[in-house]
């Protein structure tokens, strides 16, 4: 096994699938340019040519429909957006056309398309370059939605998405791009719809999405020193969402915190909590807790951003409060600070 970054894992998944299957192609605004979508499309133009790695006009909605039309007649498009926020321009094609096409043919048509979109954060991304919106997409029948957290998940889930005959939206947090981990070199797919337990623990179940898993793991380290063991469940796929891992964990812990990388109101956290209430109500020993963005647009300046985003400290405080424990003094703890890695601009 070798260690590679999340970014390189995404790149490797696409390169290997393009090698394996000549119908796979990648496109989107700036996809073949010198910035290479933060490096994830590096080498694809050189290896597979401009017919399979193409730039497009600035027309997100139309180019989403374009992908659908190509998919239903034998190609396997991967459409990339450098920010999730741009996908809002594509909602008509995504929700009215892409998600319903197969249904309109009563299951006959295959729609093997992937939409990759990056969540921005920090160094002034502000309210139009920082959204995740995964619950928007997960609300729509006919779309699958994955949020890989680890480099291994990035490669395995993107590979599965490319091989899937349904449209898959893949939401990737920009800060995860630097994460490094053991990733198998050979092509492999992680089944869409399967979560994983990132950490075993007996006291509290934390269901976290995307970047919030990193914060949950840091919180677990701190809490462990105070005798509290978190179990961290990463659903990885939020549609279709298989709640069985969450229910199994709750049977053990009886306590649920959802740490979602999104706004709380009407978000994915509400879905997790509702499933727990429906199917594991008797196991719950305490009221459930939800953690997410403050219900404001995302501010630009760091001082306000610190209030807007939850982090490991938020999880530590929430867990202590839930357990009726005195707050832990975390003033001496080291928390993730993106400035060590990311000084902008994008």
């Amino acid at each position: 096994m070798r260690r590679i970054s999340y970014c390189d894992a995404l790149n490797e998944a696409m390169a290997q699938e393009m090698e394996r299957d000549p119908t796979v192609f990648v496109y989107g605004i700036g996809v073949p340019d010198h910035k290479k979508i933060f490096g994830t499309t590096a080498g694809l133009l050189e290896r597979f040519g401009p017919e399979r790695c193409l730039d497009t006009p600035l027309a997100e909605d139309t180019m989403t429909g374009f992908g659908l039309g190509a998919a239903v007649r034998g190609l396997r498009p991967i459409h990339i957006h450098i920010r999730v926020d741009f996908l809002l321009l594509a909602m008509n094609q995504l929700v009215n056309m892409v998600s319903t096409f197969t249904y309109g043919t009563n299951g006959r048509a295959k729609v093997p398309m992937v939409i990759r979109a990056v969540v921005g954060r920090g160094w002034g991304q502000g309210y139009q370059h920082s959204k995740s919106l995964h619950s928007f997409f997960a609300h729509i029948p006919g779309l699958k939605v994955v949020l890989p957290t680890t480099p291994r998940d990035a490669k395995g889930l993107l590979t599965a998405a490319i091989r899937d005959d349904a449209p898959v939206v893949c939401i990737e947090h920009r800060w995860l791009y630097w994460a490094e981990d053991d990733v198998p070199q050979e092509p492999f797919a992680i089944p869409i719809g399967e979560g994983q337990v990132l950490r075993r623990g007996k006291d509290v179940t934390v269901v976290a999405t995307s970047w919030m898993n990193v914060e949950a793991l840091r919180a677990a380290q701190i809490l462990a020193r105070h005798g509290i063991e978190l179990e961290i469940v990463d659903p990885r796929t939020i549609s279709p969402f298989d709640e069985s891992l969450v229910l199994e964990s709750l049977a053990k812990t009886g306590r649920l915190v959802v740490a979602d990388n999104d706004w709380v109101s009407c978000g994915f956290g509400a879905e997790v909590v509702a499933r727990a209430a429906e199917r594991a109500h008797a196991a719950l020993k305490a009221p459930v807790r939800r953690i997410g963005f403050q219900f404001t647009p995302c501010p630009t300046v760091r001082a306000l951003e610190n209030e807007f985003y939850p982090n490991a400290r938020t999880i530590v405080d929430t867990v202590c409060d839930m357990l009726g424990r005195a707050p832990i003094d975390t003033s001496g703890e080291d928390f993730y600070s993106h400035e060590r890695r990311f000084k902008g601009p994008f």
Partner: protein
């Protein structure tokens, strides 16, 4: 020499007959919709093609079977002209399990992808970008299939149209953009919607082939489309075909609405004089077909449509579990 002329005449008559059959099939299918709609068994909003049949029929006759098309909610004529699947059509309008969409689509969402009618859409212009992608796939994979997208002049107001035209031009994709210009978006005329003099004039600024016609003559439209298809392939460019037409009935529903005040019945009467079905019938007679021959052909089509309606009325509704069938691809 004489043999050659005779051969040419035969070919023309064969084409004229094929076009007439399609025209008559579409018109007769809609006659039956009008006849049975009041029974309230076809519970699906009908946007009737009546009066506009020449465009889809002419273009589809030029496209042939090896082609893929997309249409708007005014889908009856494109669907039947492309697929001739009148049985799957009526079963779908009646919401039956054996309908082309298993009852999930209805009049606004007709799809028979095996016969190249990919989908029709209820959101104006939304099928146009999808057609660009299908045309791209057909080009990339060398399938030999041509692609066309049908839409009304209302779709020209939408961003999807201009974005698609731009993309197809810059990506050099062979594709027919077919505008069925009936002058109306629901009840609103072009003058209230267009900040420019002519659609074709604006489109001429793009790197594509442009043709216009207001004859309402399916065979003439066939010839224009056939020429455009050949040029699209040779030049690897899209074509924009603008055909004027007239909607006989209300925007949605089966009734005339000349009393509504937004249009003048005299325009309709003028168009009726060049009704595309009557026009093609006259051409057949002039080309040597006898009235008896044409009547026999009409009778056969009528019987087929009548049988399709009767079969659909008797057919089973989808079973309850079918609600969940086909959200994602599955083999039957």
């Amino acid at each position: 020499m004489r043999d050659q002329v005779a051969e040419l005449a035969r070919t023309d008559l064969a084409l004229a007959r094929r076009i007439y059959e399609l025209l008559f099939l579409v018109r007769r299918a809609e006659d039956y919709i009008i006849k049975h709609y009041h029974e309230d068994e076809m519970k699906t909003p009908m946007h009737m093609s009546m009066g506009q049949e020449a465009i889809p029929v002419g273009v589809c006759a030029a496209l042939g079977e090896k082609a893929d098309i997309y249409s708007s909610y005014r889908s009856h004529a494109p669907f039947l002209a492309k697929t001739s699947d009148v049985e799957g059509f009526f079963a779908e309008l009646y919401g039956r399990a054996e309908g082309v969409g298993g009852g999930k689509g209805g009049s606004m969402h007709l799809a028979n992808i095996d016969r190249g009618h990919m989908c029709s859409t209820a959101i104006v212009a939304s099928g146009i970008p999808v057609a660009v992608g299908t045309a791209f796939a057909n080009m990339r994979l060398g399938t030999g299939r041509m692609t066309a997208t049908f839409f009304g002049d209302g779709a020209v107001d939408e961003g999807n149209f201009w974005e698609s035209l731009n993309a197809a031009c810059v990506m050099r994709i062979p594709l027919l953009f077919v505008c069925e210009d009936n002058g109306l978006a629901v009840h609103t005329g072009k003058r209230q919607r267009h900040g420019y003099r002519s659609i074709a004039e604006v489109v001429r600024g793009f790197d594509c082939i442009v043709a216009e016609d207001s004859s309402n003559d399916a065979q003439r439209i066939h010839d224009i489309a056939a020429g455009a298809i050949a040029r699209c392939r040779a030049e690897r460019r899209p074509a924009f075909l603008l055909f004027e037409c007239y909607r006989y009935l209300e925007h949605v529903g089966i009734n005339p609405d000349f009393d509504a005040g937004y249009r003048d019945k005299r325009d309709y009467e003028a168009y009726l004089a060049k009704d595309c079905i009557a026009l093609q019938r006259r051409r057949l007679l002039a080309g040597g077909a006898t009235d008896a021959e044409i009547k026999a052909l009409e009778g056969a089509i009528d019987q087929r449509v009548r049988a399709a309606v009767e079969r659909a009325k008797q057919a089973a509704l989808p079973e309850a579990g079918q609600l969940f069938h086909g959200i994602f691809h599955e083999t039957d």
